[in-house]
């Protein structure tokens, strides 16, 4: 419980968003960030790098966010890694559905890069509440 959050995997198919979000997490939050541009790449990265938390875009070509989360939950080795969705879809029912799928929380885009790190850290600290 006392472990601090340092390693975050960021998954988004938009290169610009990857760059902005990773810059915010690294510079403001002081996290180490690795990036994947698809669900498949994310699954590989998770095995190689073992992140503590995954920021996962919902809408991606191929294996999308919910699909990726499903794969992570199927494998006991990755089932417990907290996943936070990022999405431009803001329908409350959809957000609730993502949480039902097992996501820790959902961050709605456009996100505020200045407060993102604080939010992610708080989610990490309260992940077992």
């Amino acid at each position: 419980m006392a472990t601090a959050l340092t390693r975050i995997l960021l998954v988004d198919d938009e290169p610009d968003i990857r760059e902005v979000v990773s810059l915010a997490l690294e510079t403001i939050g002081g996290f180490t960030v690795e990036m994947a541009k698809s669900g498949r790449e994310a699954l590989e990265m998770v095995r190689q790098w073992n992140p503590q938390l995954i920021l996962l875009d919902v809408m991606m070509p191929g294996l999308d966010g919910p699909g990726t989360l499903g794969r992570l939950k199927e494998d006991p080795a990755t089932a417990d890694i907290p996943v936070v969705f990022m999405t431009a879809k803001a329908q409350p029912q959809e957000l609730a559905r993502f949480v039902e799928l097992g996501a820790l929380d959902v961050i709605v885009k456009p996100l505020d890069p200045m407060t993102l790190s604080e939010r992610v850290r708080s989610l990490w600290e309260h992940r077992n509440d």
């Binding site: 915010a24 510079t27 403001i28 885009k109 456009p110």
Partner: protein, 648 residues
């Protein structure tokens, strides 16, 4: 059929008296009748809407040219056949059953229907079917007026999809733009020269404005598609307003405006709202007030009470709203001064969205404005009272409590008064979401429900609450102008609707139905309490006893106590092993008092000790006795009891 069937009548069908109904202007007197007929025939034949006349059996007698054009059939191909040749398979049998029952009962049916053309393609029609009666008052014909709305539907769908896609496609690049600018102005990429910083701030502010616009557009689309959802909970109002003020303070500062709060509540007050949506409304009103305030102005947010409502008022000292805009200020895309808009920013959607949200929260939004002095917007929300908290209600075992769910406030008020006079405690909800919230907080003995309500109709509400075991047996009394249609859709007793009462409401019938539902003392039925946690058994017994008894259900000992304290029963069926104890714990309560001995039947999977058997009428063991046998035994017990009932 007394009416002669004409294969192809030469004109429209009248009401049997030769009276074509409303006269046509300029044509008067019996000699003009033929002229009138000709003119009417021209009207119907040249109408763009398709028209169809059937006899009382639904056999097509006549169609107009528009019908042929839309369906692809010729007159000769359809006359003498039934409109079912247009069936698309997109509506189920219940839909047609309901339609036919409506019109056969002499009522007008109106709705949308998907039909199939001769060339097999589908189209959507908006249709009104009106029954026509002959001299004897018998239905002789049906007239259908139909409008092809396929194209309108298609455009609506495309429009909504377009807005949804565009909004999403805008939000994705906006994430990068706003994110980059946020990091730049935040100094993350190093300190910027003052002018560059100022430019980046302008760009950031405008990207945020664009985000608000996109969000507003998405909200409007959600509202139009009926998809805006609300998560209603009781909240103390002051902290909600304070939070909204805090969040918007910097926006006010951008306009050189200060937000000041004035709390005139004189204590705590709560409202039942979706807190995010409520904050959205206050944010919108604050940003409008800031935009239209003079520099160094002050915006006052005051909290108070008014006629059972909590009032949040947001007052600016701006130019006020010109009178010509007073009637349409809450309409979408209305800007008080479009030349001013570019200076103020905004989509013109904020107030329209705010009004929809406030109404969905069960409240009202209004404004006052004095030219040159400023405007004040009021948000009035029904005060949520703690007395409706379940914990407090447990003490109150007095009158049965009835939940009214009716969107028309004046009708709700009348039902409320009548039920109170009838000796019931009541609560009112104005929509399905408020009803669900109250049901979750408070125990009700019956629900009086309107069917036609905005956002979620009564039928869907009944279906939804029946899915929760807690409300499986909550008696529902439907009061609606569409009670009959509803009964067809729900299929009668399946969902435990006690009575279907048409509007205008027959109040003596309403009171009787509510009494039947809550006391079981009407119509000679006995009242049974069934304490059991196996829903399968409850379903069976309730169903098999429904013609002779009103069965109340308790799934725990605690619930059993509450039921017994609240109502009187003619018989009690007890299961012994329940989640919170043994059904036998209820026996002392049944034996207390000097009234009639209530027969107790035990239905259990466990052996029962000899000493516990003396107070019970019968013991049946699960596994040895079927629910059917149990019911048969209960039926005979009731007969015995009622035969000796005179002695009590």
């Amino acid at each position: 059929m007394t009416q002669k069937k004409k294969k192809h009548p030469s004109g429209p069908v009248y009401n049997g008296a030769g009276d074509p109904g409303n006269g046509i202007a300029g044509l008067r007197g019996p000699k003009q009748t033929e002229e009138q007929l000709k003119l009417l025939l021209k009207v119907v034949e040249s109408a763009a809407n398709s028209l169809l006349i059937t006899d009382a059996d639904g056999v097509i007698q006549w169609v107009n040219p528009a019908f042929c054009e839309i369906t692809g059939y010729t007159t000769g191909e359809v006359v003498g056949r039934k409109p079912s040749i247009l069936k698309s398979g997109k509506q189920d049998a219940a839909f047609y059953r309901s339609l036919w029952e409506t019109i056969r009962s002499g009522k007008v049916w109106h709705g949308e229907i998907v039909n199939r053309r001769k060339d097999d393609t589908l189209y959507i029609e908006e249709m009104t079917i009106t029954p026509v009666r002959d001299d004897a008052g018998q239905i002789s014909h049906y007239i259908a007026v139909k409008q092809d709305i396929t194209e309108r539907k298609r455009i609506e769908k495309i429009k909504n999809e377009f807005i949804s896609i565009v909004s999403h496609e805008l939000r994705t690049p906006l994430t990068s733009i706003r994110g980059s600018l946020g990091l730049m102005t935040g100094g993350v990429a190093g300190e910027l020269p003052p002018q560059a910083k100022r430019l980046a701030e302008i760009a950031l502010r405008n990207s945020e404005r664009l985000i608000r616009l996109v969000n507003d557009m998405l909200d409007v689309e959600k509202i139009n598609a009926g998809k805006m959802s609300f998560s209603m909970h009781p909240h103390e109002i002051a902290p909600l307003v304070e939070h909204a003020l805090e969040v918007n303070r910097s926006y006010g500062e951008q306009h050189g405006v200060e937000f000041v709060i004035e709390d005139r509540l004189g204590g705590k007050a709560s409202v039942q709202v979706d807190s995010d949506r409520f904050e959205q409304v206050i944010t919108n009103l604050l940003s409008n007030a800031a935009k239209f305030s003079p520099p160094q102005g002050k915006v006052t947010v005051s909290l108070g009470r008014l006629n059972g409502y909590v009032r949040v008022s947001i007052a600016d000292r701006g130019q006020g709203i010109p009178e010509e805009f007073h009637g349409k200020i809450f309409d979408a895309f209305v800007q008080v001064d479009s030349s001013d808009t570019r200076g103020k920013g905004g989509s013109g959607l904020g107030l329209a969205i705010s009004r929809t949200i406030v109404e969905r929260l069960g409240g009202e939004i209004s404004f006052e404005s004095i030219p040159g002095e400023g405007s004040t917007f009021h948000v009035d929300l029904p005060e949520w009272r703690k007395s409706s908290l379940a914990g407090q209600v447990e003490k109150d075992f007095g009158k049965p409590r009835i939940l009214i769910c009716e969107d028309d406030r004046s009708v709700a008020a009348v039902i409320n008064t009548m039920l109170k006079k009838g000796g019931f405690d009541t609560d009112i909800s104005y929509n399905a979401s408020q009803a669900k919230q109250l049901l979750a907080e408070q125990r009700y003995d019956a629900l009086v429900l309107d069917l036609v309500m905005p956002y979620q109709d009564g039928i869907s509400l009944v279906r939804e609450i029946r899915e929760d075991h807690q409300f499986h047996y909550l008696p529902v009394i439907v009061v609606s102008a569409k009670a009959e249609e509803g009964r067809d859709i729900l299929g009668g007793s399946v969902l435990g609707v006690v009575d279907w009462i048409e509007k205008p409401i027959d109040f003596s019938r309403l009171i009787d139905s509510v009494k039947l539902a809550t006391y079981g003392s009407v119509a000679g039925k006995v009242r049974i309490l069934h304490v059991e946690d196996d829903m399968g058994i409850i379903d069976l017994t309730t169903d098999m006893l429904k013609d002779i008894a009103i069965v109340s259900v308790a799934t725990t000992v605690r619930e059993g106590f509450k039921r017994l304290e609240k109502g009187t029963f003619d018989l009690v069926i007890l299961d012994l092993v329940l989640a919170d104890g043994s059904g036998l714990e209820l026996l002392p309560l049944l034996r207390a008092g000097s009234g009639k001995r209530v027969p107790v039947v035990i239905f259990t999977g466990y052996e029962i000790a000899e000493e516990n058997m003396k107070d019970v009428a019968a013991v049946f063991y699960k596994g040895h006795t079927s629910a059917q046998d149990l019911v048969a035994a209960i039926r005979s017990l009731i007969k015995i009891e009622s035969a000796s009932g005179g002695e009590k």
